[in-house]
């Protein structure tokens, strides 16, 4: 017998699939219904990648347009829309970064306070460590830990396999926290 939560999830998936099918036929309302709940995570992702509110909104807006123009090519899969849209956002942010390379080198203005010892949480160390990561590695962290995307969706957003995503995530977290066990990363 199906549990209520499973049934609810199945209904939700069926509804999402219906919306995707309609959007693929050019139904603007269906596309908006899919897009609206993802604008905030898309903006958060763009802001984390670009550290610039205006640039982040531009990236989200441009990504939404690209998604709409390409919506007919979206796979009819209820779990495909979010990673697909976030992949477009990530690509858009990469393009933006390329155009303003020197700004990006000063990433995120994550300067520590004058006296790091006043931060008992160790957050300053983590900020510095994350700021030192390559941009694509930061993207993995944000997708997994900040946006709480499941691994297959992180993989789809990055355009790489789940195994590769897992390995990358493990390597990154291990660099941030050398004592981490691999099982702790994916729990």
């Amino acid at each position: 017998m199906q549990r209520p939560r499973q049934l609810a999830r199945m209904n939700e998936q069926a509804m999402t699939l219906e919306l995707i099918s309609a959007a693929r036929r050019g139904d603007r309302d269906a596309f908006e219904a899919l897009l609206r709940p993802l604008i905030d995570p898309a903006y958060r992702l763009a802001l984390a990648m670009l550290s610039d509110r205006t640039a982040a909104e531009d990236a989200v807006q441009e990504s939404a347009l690209k998604a709409w123009r390409a919506v007919r090519r979206l796979r009819p899969d209820p779990e495909s829309f979010r990673p697909w849209l976030l992949a477009i956002v990530a690509n858009q942010c990469r393009d933006t970064r390329r155009r303003r390379w020197w700004t990006v080198l000063k990433f995120a203005d994550l300067h520590p306070p004058d006296d790091p010892t006043t931060d008992p949480s160790g957050l300053v160390d983590l900020r510095q460590a994350i700021a030192q990561l390559p941009a694509n590695d930061r993207l993995v962290l944000y997708l997994f830990f900040y946006l709480d995307l499941p691994l297959p969706e992180v993989a789809a957003t990055l355009g790489i396999s789940t195994a590769a995503t897992k390995a990358r995530l493990y390597r990154i977290t291990r660099r941030l926290r050398p004592g981490l066990e691999i099982s702790e990363v994916y729990q």
Binding site: I39, S51, I130, Y146
Partner: protein, 455 residues
């Protein structure tokens, strides 16, 4: 512990989060102003017109040729073929032929990731036809051939398990038959093979900053011997897809690159001259005039069969002392390539890496060195001017004289390059909103690229 890490990452992201009231309405409104999406992608329209013309002129054969040459690309149907997003790896090109791995984890329609076998393909006709040579599990990590192209290895690392075990597949008949070795009992953070001889940098996931054992095999992984340790725990910064950090020029000389900015006592590059028994941090290069006080990142040595080698080096300045060793914070002022005639023991003759005023930079930077003279780089034109390729355009640049002169060609979004000679090469590129991997082939040194279909 991970919860705390996740909490800290969230807190950090939230700390830099700036609310943007009304963004949803603005984005939705902008989409509403956009016309209904075309049933065909713009490029498909033009190619379809070409295809239809060809169909009229050459009813059957012409259409088949267009499809094979991938000049006609239609939107993916909703059927089974659109269900997967195969990932590709350029495996090897050279005496053993041209080899590509279609990696085995695909995104399923309803079930997330679906583990399928990796497939190793070989082509002998430039990618027109492919022969399946091996199906294998695990995370594909690399492939290597002996000089005659008969004996070879392909190895995988089990990234999904805590073991990080290495599995070696060996062939002695050019890839027609393969023998699977039992997975190693030791982990493999990095592995490198020269044909059937291999080394493993064996840092375990839980080893923290302990020195990593180095294991060595001379029989394609049938037996392994622990030969030494390497204490270079700051590793981790890679420069691009397909680039190694751990390599041996011969049975004795090997390199390990950390990717960090050079500092006293740690140049970021470690060398062994006794087959991996002992390692020392290699001293830095002599900078060109005017860059004597610059911060330095040593790239990865590229070693050729004739004993020559090249070493890419970036010079620049890190202005914030907090990031003193961080390569991401180096404001690069110039990139040079040093040469070695003794297998990488001494490096001289720095040649500036600059093509038509463009210096490679950014996350799209990828390079390939065939020999002392023939080099390729790919990057994106970050200049404000549309010269020599449009601004924002990715390009491939080629030199045939060791970096003295360059040709620059616009290119697709290439993430990996590989050449078997001065004219023939392969590239892996990404295309479309899903970053779909595509395989490209050139027969004119990178000036033009044509997509090759992998089964």
């Amino acid at each position: 512990m991970t919860d705390r890490l996740a909490d800290e990452i969230r807190a950090m992201a939230e700390a830099s989060y700036a609310p943007n009231p009304g963004i949803a309405s603005r984005v939705i409104e902008r989409v509403r102003q956009e016309p209904e999406p075309s049933r065909w992608a713009p490029w498909a329209k033009s190619t379809l017109a070409v295809a239809l013309t060809a169909v009229v002129l050459v009813p059957v054969l012409g259409f088949g040729i267009l499809l094979r040459a991938n000049l006609l690309r239609l939107p993916l149907p909703g059927g089974e073929s659109s269900d997967t997003t195969p990932a590709l790896s350029l495996a090897s090109t050279g005496p053993g032929g041209d080899w590509v791995v279609r990696r085995g984890l695909h995104l399923g329609r309803t079930s997330g990731s679906v583990p399928l076998a990796n497939v190793l393909y070989q082509t002998a006709d430039g990618g027109r036809t492919w022969t399946e040579r091996l199906r294998f599990d695990g995370g594909y990590d690399g492939m290597s051939w002996d000089a005659d192209g008969r004996d070879g290895t392909l190895w995988t690392v089990d990234w999904t398990q805590r073991s990080f075990a290495l599995t070696v597949y060996a062939t002695s008949d050019g890839g027609l038959h393969w023998l699977r070795r039992t997975p190693t009992a030791f982990p493999a953070a990095f592995a490198f093979f020269r044909g059937v001889e291999g080394w493993v940098y064996s840092q375990s996931p839980a080893a923290r900053s302990d020195p990593a054992p180095i294991y060595h095999t001379t029989d394609a992984g049938a037996t392994w011997t622990r030969v030494g340790t390497l204490d270079a725990n700051s590793w981790g910064s890679t420069s691009g897809v397909g680039e190694d950090q751990f390599e041996f020029a011969n049975a004795r000389v090997g390199w390990f690159r950390t990717g960090g900015v050079a500092a006293p006592g740690d140049s970021g590059l470690w060398i062994t001259t006794d087959g991996g028994h002992t390692w020392t941090s290699w001293v830095s290069v002599t900078p060109p005039a005017g860059l004597e006080n610059a911060d330095v990142i040593l790239g990865y040595p590229v070693l050729f069969a004739d004993g020559h080698a090249v070493l890419p080096v970036a010079f620049g300045r890190i202005t914030d002392p907090v990031y003193a060793r961080d390569p991401n914070h180096l404001v690069v002022s110039a990139r040079y390539v040093y040469s070695s005639a003794d297998g990488g023991l001494t490096w001289t003759n720095p040649q500036k890496l600059e093509a038509g005023g463009l210096q490679p930079q950014g996350s799209q930077y990828m390079q390939f060195y065939l020999d002392q003279k023939h080099w390729w780089i790919t990057s994106v034109n970050d200049h404000p001017a549309d010269n020599p390729v449009p601004q924002g355009q990715q390009f491939v640049a080629r030199t045939v004289d060791g970096g003295q002169t360059w040709q620059v060609f616009p290119s697709p979004a290439i993430i990996q390059l590989m050449f078997s000679d001065s004219q023939h090469g392969w590239a892996e590129a990404v295309a479309g909103p899903n970053n779909t991997n595509i395989l490209l082939r050139t027969a004119d040194g990178g000036a033009h690229w044509q997509e090759a279909q992998v089964p």
